[in-house]
Symmetry: C2
Subunit: 346 residues, 2 copies
């Protein structure tokens, strides 16, 4: 039987545990997993593109546990009342190949993305960073704000979105939580005076949401929205004067902001910074970019945190997904009536 975390159960876990507490747990778990990066067997995710979006599978294994996530990205979905991004994930036991957990991951992906952003920013943003610009205030934005408050102590936000409704929603959700929020007139206004710029827009185009002129020395760019071939947000001029950090270069060169750069442009994989093998931020003037596309290990980490939270809970629903004949070499026994039935009929 496969443990099943449906949307209701995920919501209950998040609401009772608290978003910021879960973010903190995820950051701790990311710390552990990024430090053992080389133990994972990795590949770039497998994407199936269509005119309206993309469907991706993201598998990874640490030799003990295998995990994968199914995730889509369909920017036009909200016009039909649907989510741009939805996801579910599975953990399996490597030694037997049997799946052990199926979980909703639309909510969990929002949490893990925010946790990964904050996890990276702790090493890449200036230690005195106190103001974050949020360019794009869609479904991911509140999670980003809460993660940066928990991990970096940032409480002052400058927000911008081309959709005024998305700004209204963000303000309505976040003002009661004690953030200081400035509603900017445009993306440039949002970036002015920010220490961290989080760009998170959904259009599947090579957009220039953040231009070179908006970026000042010392800023850290948390670039989330450029995560697909043909989908970028940053002016390439920014990339040329910044130090660029990525999750898994092989995948980011296909999907990230650096798809705009030559394939040999130097980048640093974040796990090397975590292990102390490469420097993170080295000066207060440096511009750092976390060119984040989302990598399978982060989902693996998040699913393992969910699984850990279920330990000892006997009330977790289970799905009957695995056919289990009494004699494992006699699968036919499970459906033998289907052969006999036909023999009688014919």
């Amino acid at each position: 039987m496969v443990q099943f975390v449906d949307v209701a159960r995920m919501r209950e876990w998040i609401e009772t545990t608290g978003i910021e507490t879960i973010v903190a747990r995820l950051v701790d778990a990311l710390e552990t997993d990024f430090a053992r990066w080389e133990e994972f067997s990795k590949c770039a995710r497998i994407a199936s593109h269509s005119p309206t979006g993309v469907i991706e599978l993201m598998p990874v294994s640490d030799g003990q546990t295998y995990g994968f996530k199914y995730v889509n990205g369909h920017p036009l979905n909200p016009k039909a009342g649907l989510q741009t991004v939805t996801a579910f994930g599975v953990l399996a036991d490597v030694s037997t190949g049997y799946p052990v957990l199926l979980s909703e991951m639309t909510l969990l992906t929002a949490l893990r993305t925010a946790a990964t952003s904050a996890f990276a920013a702790r090493r890449l943003a200036r230690p005195d960073a106190s103001v974050m610009a949020l360019v794009g205030t869609g479904s991911q934005s509140e999670f980003q704000a809460l993660a940066f408050r928990r991990v970096l102590g940032i409480e002052s936000l400058r927000i911008w979105d081309s959709d005024p409704g998305a700004l209204d929603t963000f303000e309505r959700n976040m003002r009661p939580l004690g953030f200081e929020i400035v509603r900017a007139r445009n993306a440039a206004d949002a970036c002015a005076g920010a220490d961290v710029v989080t760009s998170c827009t959904a259009d599947k185009t090579n957009a220039t949401v953040v231009t070179d002129a908006m970026i000042a020395p010392g800023m850290h760019l948390n670039a989330i929205g450029g995560d697909c071939p043909g989908k970028t947000e940053l002016d390439p001029a920014i990339l040329h004067r910044a130090d660029i950090f990525v999750e898994y270069a092989e995948q980011t060169r296909i999907e990230g902001e650096i798809q705009q750069l030559p394939p040999d442009h130097p980048v640093t994989e974040l796990w090397r910074v975590v292990r102390g093998e490469a420097p993170g931020r080295t000066s207060a003037e440096q511009i750092t970019v976390f060119d984040s596309v989302g990598f399978a290990i982060e989902d693996f980490t998040a699913l393992c945190v969910v699984r850990e939270s279920l330990r000892g809970d006997s009330g977790v629903p289970e799905l009957d997904m695995i056919a289990e004949p009494e004699d494992p070499k006699d699968l036919f026994a499970l459906v033998s009536a289907g052969a006999a039935a036909l023999t009688r009929a014919s």
Copy 2:
């Protein structure tokens, strides 16, 4: 919500519809999908190997519907009372990226593999074929026998397995169904006089289960067990004097019997035979090999047949896997209590 076909429901469908009826439906559906092969966006499956087995993801899309299967192969599993192969699959709507169906596929894979074998043999075996050797009588074998009876009218079987218990099980399951069964002394004895040789063993090694001397002119080899790097069953000498047919050459060159051959050894993709673009069997003396590894389109086809069978059935259980906020840009609304809770606590 995602429709869910669990093991119990799959069993019920198979038992009430009949294995051979489902095989016939699958063969019709394979005919349609192989004839439109070029409409599918395809890739070799993504395998994660470990010392005890392999876990694979097999995605494919026809531009309207996306499907993938999760499947493992762990030859030592039966010693622990577990299945060698288990599987589940998902269909999704390409236009929105939303999953629509989750189904058990351990049983369904057995059916689709048998249907694909018979589908290929109808074009590659001699029209007068009446005797099949089954080398390896594990979980797949009964399904093969029923499919070949339904599609080719073969009722005479010569069986062999290194495990006498597996032979006992096969005989117990199949004798009541009207097959003429000869229990052979070894693999050579099983092949003697057979028109079709189905090899389906589980060991993850380069074995030579079927040697060159066992194979006579006019035979069709339905080679199922060689489906993984380092896992083959046929003496390569057979391959050198046979005409070889495959599902998707890119994947079969990695996983099939032809991994033993130079990468440019000529093979024919079966869909070209289906479309009349390449000949199947051309003479009674020819030796044909269907070097089958299992391809994603076959799983897609099978999942679509299952989905079709559910049409109009209002009793199909649904899983709450997709978080659906009222405002699609306000995912946070689903868990806002999780932010407020923490603010109060901190």
